[in-house]
Structure formats: structure tokens, C-alpha cells
């Protein structure tokens, strides 16, 4: 393949992934039946879109140097270290190269910044929870906060915490508490926070693309379904459903900030209904999702490596 063909193919792939593919995947119904496979597929779509977009613009920018993308990159690097950064490729291509670097730095930089902020917020929150919360021997890292409002959440990380308010313990029966714990533990063990963090960072880095926002919302909804499924495997499914419904019904009494609703594509009600009437597994969609995920990441990688 020549550089031009590679560049066009990658650009088309990037546009498809950010546009129609993410739109279709966000609307797909099978994801409720196979949330884990859908989550993997979203990661592949995100990674492939990034690779394709950066690869396409790098291929166009370095095309005048010839020798395939790897060769051209090497040629450019060796003249760049001698201080001759732009003369070999001209002004237009140089600008595109700068834009490519800028996009790459923006993606990596936003992720790094968001990670740092998140870790700091978590650490501060955990310090206070440990200080004012009662240790709760029922769960590893469990803490109870004395507050009438029913709230349950977990703080992910290397020293995770599962936090419940006394209001939540009053609201739920024993089986429901066990189900809530199993749900939160599934989040912690699956490190779902890393997926949410990464897609959140990319949505913040690229606010101009609705496809990236869709991906973030879909990932947030999918990790909840994955955690619901894992919790159902180790605790009572209907108890998890009633716990969710109780929380949801109690939460609306407090004045929830408007606009918060837009954050969740799959509502609490849908989660409850999904638990009460579990949809059958969709084996074909699951296999298709995993195969597509592998192909999506492999295709742009191979195209970049194989370009002559």
C-alpha cells in the first residue's frame, strides 16, 4: 500500500468510527444482553479511532519523505535531531505534522491531568471517610457514614472503600445490603473506574465530537450493567432489583440537580427491569463483538506498519 492509500483508508475509518459506528453502537439493543462484550467493543472503537486519526494525518504529513510510514518517520526524526525539523516536507505538511502532535499531546495530556485530579479527589475523600466513617466489618474497606439520606458508593483504587450511609442501612434489608455490596465490589474488582476515567478524559479532550460523548455515556451505562450481572451471579438478583428500586424511589424525594439525568443512558428503571426480566444472552452478537474488537485494533496497526 502506498502512503496515500493508507492515509485515505485510515481517515475513512476514523470518520466512520467517530460518526456512524459510535451512533449505531450507542443505539444497539443487544448491548443490554451482552454488556461486557459491548464494553470491550467500545474500547476497541476508541483505540482504533485514535490510531486511525493520528495515523492518517501522520501519513499525509510525512508522505513527501517516502519509504513507508515507519521509514518516513525515521527519516524525519533523524533530520529533526540535527535541527532540520521542517525543511524536507514543506510548510503545509509541517503544519499537519504539528497538528498531529498537538492532537496526540492533547489526548495524552488530558488523560494524565484527569487521572491526577481524580486520584487527588479520591485520596482526600478517602482520608475524610476514614476519619468520620465507622469501620464496617461486613465488607473489606467498608465504612458507614451517619447521614439520614440513603447513599451507597465505592471509592476505587489500590485501597478501595465501600461507603454506605446509615440511611441506606435503614432503607435496605440484609439481602439487599449484600447485593449492593456485591455490585460495588464488582466495580472495584473490574476496575471500571479506569474505563470511565479514560472515556471521560477523551470526551473532555474532544468536546467537538458527539461520537466521543456518546461513547462516554455508553461506557458509564455499560459498567453498571456489568456490575449488576456480576452481583447477580454471587447474590440474589431480585434483592439487587429491589435495592435499586428502593434507592431510586427514595432519591427522587431529595432535590436532585437538573441536568444530572442526561448523564445516564440506561436509567435506574431500565436496570431494575433488566434484573427482574433478564434478557437472554446473545451469543452471536457477543462473538461478533469480540471478533470486531480484535479486527478494529489490528487493521489500523497493520496498515501503519505495512505501508510501503
Amino acid at each position: 500500500m502506498t502512503m496515500a492509500v493508507t492515509a485515505v483508508a485510515l481517515a475513512v475509518l476514523a470518520v466512520c468510527l467517530i460518526g456512524p459506528v459510535s451512533h449505531t453502537l450507542a443505539q444497539a439493543r443487544w448491548v443490554r444482553r451482552e454488556p461486557k462484550a459491548a464494553l470491550v467493543l467500545w474500547h476497541a472503537v476508541g483505540l482504533a479511532a485514535g490510531l486511525a486519526a493520528l495515523g492518517a494525518s501522520a501519513a499525509v504529513a510525512l508522505a513527501p519523505l517516502g519509504g513507508g510510514l515507519l521509514g518516513a518517520t525515521f527519516t524525519w526524526l533523524s533530520s529533526a535531531v540535527q535541527g532540520d525539523v521542517f525543511s524536507d516536507i514543506g510548510v503545509g505538511h509541517s503544519l499537519l505534522l504539528i497538528a498531529t502532535f498537538a492532537l496526540g499531546f492533547r489526548l495524552v495530556g488530558t488523560l494524565a491531568l484527569n487521572t491526577w485530579r481524580t486520584l487527588r479527589a479520591r485520596r482526600r475523600h478517602r482520608t475524610l471517610v476514614d476519619l468520620v466513617g465507622r469501620p464496617w466489618p461486613k465488607a473489606r474497606g467498608g465504612r458507614v457514614l451517619d447521614h439520614p439520606e440513603a447513599v451507597a458508593y465505592c471509592l476505587p483504587g489500590l485501597t478501595p472503600r465501600v461507603v454506605l450511609t446509615s440511611g441506606a442501612l435503614k432503607l435496605l434489608d440484609e439481602e439487599e445490603v449484600a447485593a449492593v455490596l456485591a455490585h460495588e465490589r464488582a466495580h472495584l474488582e473490574g476496575r471500571h473506574d479506569l474505563s470511565v476515567l479514560t472515556f471521560g478524559a477523551w470526551a473532555a479532550a474532544l468536546p467537538w465530537f458527539p461520537g466521543v460523548r456518546r461513547a462516554r455515556r455508553a461506557v458509564q451505562a455499560l459498567v453498571e450493567m456489568v456490575a449488576d450481572d456480576r452481583a447477580s451471579a454471587v447474590s440474589d438478583r431480585t434483592a439487587l432489583a429491589s435495592a435499586l428500586a428502593r434507592f431510586g424511589a427514595s432519591r427522587s424525594l431529595s432535590t436532585a440537580p437538573l441536568g444530572a439525568l442526561a448523564a445516564a443512558d440506561v436509567t435506574t428503571l431500565e436496570r431494575v427491569q433488566r434484573l427482574l426480566n433478564p434478557p437472554p444472552p446473545a451469543r452471536l452478537a457477543r462473538v461478533g463483538a469480540y471478533v470486531s474488537a480484535v479486527l478494529l485494533v489490528a487493521a489500523p496497526t497493520l496498515a501503519l506498519l505495512a505501508t510501503a
Partner: protein, 129 residues
């Protein structure tokens, strides 16, 4: 570290329940069953000060410490953070349930009734077996 964290809790308990600012000596006395050294308590106090949890004032030759916020104020702040739906907060902690509309709450009440009916049935079946 676990022990230090536990000591911080204990020292904060003393400060929260005291009517006035405490000296390190007061805290050693209040926690006398632990037989702490004054230097240990001072270490814990300086950690708490660094974390922005206590304030130190000079009183003659001694320092007096008092909590910057009550336990209830800290809990309220944690609740605000836990219920905050800003995007950077969503990543920091994972909440069990997000906000619902009043219409959804009604539907959830119905779903709850259904779930409880099924759980009742489950229990009956288990009792029969």
C-alpha cells in the same frame, strides 16, 4: 500506617468531644488507656494539621489544637461530593444509583412491589424445600 490512621481517628474523637481547644497533654490524658507518648500524639496532630483537619494556636508555652470542622460538617461535605454529578466527580467514585425523575420514581415503586412479591415467593419455595 493502619495504626496511624486509627490513632488519627481517636485523636479527632477527643478533639470533637472536647468543649475547648486541647493541648497534646490533654489528648494523652484522654487516651490514657492507650499509654501513648506525648511525641506520638504530637506527630499525629501535625499530620492532622497538614491534612487541614485541625488548627494550632499558641497559648503561653503550649500549643492548643481544635478541629477546623465538626464531624457533621465533614459528613455533609462528603455527601455533597458523593452526590455531585460533575463529570470529574463521576470518575472519582462510583455511585450505586443516579438521580431519577418523579415519573421514574413512581415506576420504580411499582417495580419494587413486583420485586418484593417475587422475593416473597422465593422465600416460600425455599421454606417448602
Amino acid at each position: 500506617m493502619a495504626r496511624l490512621g486509627e490513632l488519627e481517628r481517636a485523636v479527632m474523637e477527643v478533639l470533637w468531644s472536647a468543649d475547648q481547644a486541647c493541648t497534646a497533654r490533654d489528648i494523652v490524658d484522654a487516651l490514657s488507656d492507650r499509654e501513648l507518648a506525648a511525641t506520638t500524639v504530637l506527630t499525629v496532630l501535625s499530620r492532622l494539621e497538614r491534612k487541614g483537619l485541625v488548627r494550632r494556636d499558641r497559648d503561653g508555652r503550649a500549643h492548643r489544637y481544635r478541629p477546623l470542622a465538626s464531624r457533621e460538617e465533614h459528613v455533609a461535605a462528603l455527601m455533597r461530593e458523593a452526590l455531585d454529578t460533575a463529570d470529574d466527580r463521576v470518575a472519582a467514585l462510583a455511585r450505586f444509583v443516579h438521580e431519577v425523575t418523579p415519573a421514574e420514581a413512581d415506576a420504580l415503586a411499582e417495580a419494587l412491589a413486583e420485586a418484593m412479591r417475587r422475593r416473597g415467593k422465593q422465600r416460600q419455595q425455599e421454606a417448602v424445600q
